[in-house]
Amino acid sequence: MSDIASRVKAIIVDKLGVDENEVVAEASFTNDLGADSLDTVELIMEFEKEFDIQIPDDQAENIATVGQAIKYIEEAK
């Protein structure tokens, strides 16, 4: 697992209080990991802080799964 992927997963485990095994690439934050609208905003903010990047709102809307988050951050870095 890449460094980015493991850091993304650690944030998701911490913020959503889910088991690490559930945090797979295709898992949807809202449908699979129990996130509500406020959680997803918080996740995006944590990604921005952890990786020192900016994720504009219109692009944040397209980050719905663990894999999409990792991919976006890898490309943005």
């Binding site: 959680d39 918080e42 903010m45 921005e48």
Partner: protein, 416 residues
């Protein structure tokens, strides 16, 4: 329209001297102080470096870890005590008519730590707003009753009362009326506060409202003592299940007491100082007695607001003298803040609970830390100094007053 009768059928407490009702009562009757050095933050530069904090509390024992993160401590405290009170009441959530159950909850401030952390985080940055999406919902005072309703699915009246240190007495008053008027069968009421934070301590210190007895925190809260020098900040929560009498009787509920009545008034005098003659305090106790249909001579005990401030304690006792006349000296007067510190918005609830428990056990918890007589206090008054006193209590009154000049009083009586 005939008013319904209202009774207390469940209690929950999370206080600096005990983390549930049993621990709270044991500490109250044996005169324990909850004061100690502040642990929530580094208070070494503060004028006051001690407080009455909640101890040995792990919210994840009661609340899902993910939910805990979404709650300020004041809301965590609320959830834990509401749960204890609900379990104590024996109400079956599955068979209750949830449209007939409300939650009315007091908080003087709300999520102060959340507000403080979010704003200081912003101030440390470069001006780019990076506020957490949970900032507002964690901070607002009314989130506590909201969260309780979400947990149980209670869809009756739901809101917060805010009147500083009278907040949860206001909540109990509103809850009583909600049931009296037939709007609901059950109300979860009470209050919570978690203001032992840098902003809370710093703010109260700036007002010169708090004791600075840093060399002996446990004796700092000393209501009615000549050398009192201000209140000791506390935190925590108290919850009460109020229920319509016939509803409680029909299910064979354990009934602690009847909520006989309540009173409200305002000083209309100063932002924070009590009126020196306590005219608003006289009014609130008279309103309360009238509302309950009781005579002054009926009252056996008064749990005072008694915060251990130089002005407030004397003004309140003068007011008691005016309302109760000769009978004042027959009343067991106490201040449990000598032990718990001042729980601000939660004070009314935890003190109402202390009052109810004193009736239940026939024992008045003491006003601890009294050493020196204050010449301004009538020596004939029984202030229940330093040691609990046995007393058959049929009627007990609980006073709370808040910055802003808000006064609230509730009175409980044994069910006849």
């Amino acid at each position: 329209m005939e008013l319904k009768r209202v009774v207390v059928t469940g209690l929950g407490a999370l206080t600096p001297i005990g983390n549930n009702i049993e621990e709270y009562w044991n500490a109250l009757k044996s005169g324990q102080s909850g004061a100690a050095e502040v642990t929530h933050f580094d208070a070494s530069k503060f004028k006051t470096q001690f407080a009455c904090e909640i101890k040995n509390f792990d919210p994840t024992e009661f609340i899902d870890r993910k939910e805990v993160r979404r709650m300020d401590r004041f809301a965590q405290y609320a959830m834990v005590t509401a749960q204890e009170a609900m379990e104590d009441s024996g109400l079956d959530v599955d068979t209750l008519d949830k449209n007939r159950v409300g939650v009315i909850w007091g908080a003087g401030i709300g999520g102060l730590e959340t507000f403080q952390d979010e704003v200081s985080n912003y101030a440390k940055g470069d001006g780019t707003p990076r506020f957490n999406p949970f900032f507002i919902p964690k901070m607002i005072a009314d989130i506590a009753p909201g969260l309780i309703s979400i947990k149980y699915g209670f869809m009756g009246p739901n809101y917060a009362t805010v009147s500083a240190c009278a907040s949860s007495a206001n909540a109990i008053f509103d809850a009583m009326n909600m049931i009296r008027l037939g709007h609901t069968d059950v109300v979860i009421t009470g209050g919570s506060e978690a203001a032992v934070t840098a902003a809370g301590m710093g703010g109260f210190n700036a007002m010169h409202a708090m004791s600075t007895r840093n060399d002996d925190p446990k004796s700092a809260s000393r209501p009615f003592d000549a050398n009192r020098d201000g209140f000791v900040l506390g935190e925590g929560s108290g919850a009460l299940v109020l229920e319509e009498y016939e509803h409680a009787k029909a299910r064979g509920a354990k009934i602690y007491a009847e909520v006989a009545g309540g009173g409200l008034s305002a000083d209309a005098y100063h932002m924070t100082a009590p009126h020196p003659e306590g005219i608003g305090v006289v009014a609130v106790m008279e309103n309360c007695l009238r509302n309950a249909g009781l005579k002054p001579e009926d009252v056996d005990a008064i749990n005072t607001h008694g915060t251990s401030t130089p002005l407030g304690d004397v003004a309140e006792l003068k007011a008691i003298g005016k309302v109760f006349g000769d009978h004042a000296k027959n009343i067991n007067i106490n201040s449990t803040k000598s032990m718990t510190g001042h729980l601000l918005g939660a004070a009314g609830a935890v003190e109402a609970i202390a009052s109810i428990l004193s009736m239940e056990h026939g024992l008045i918890p003491p006003t601890i830390n009294h050493e020196t007589v204050d010449e301004n206090i009538d020596p004939e008054l029984n202030l229940t100094l330093n040691k609990a006193q046995k007393r058959d209590v049929n009627v007990v009154m609980s006073n709370t007053f808040g910055f802003g000049g808000h006064n609230a009083c509730v009175v409980f009586k044994k069910l006849d």
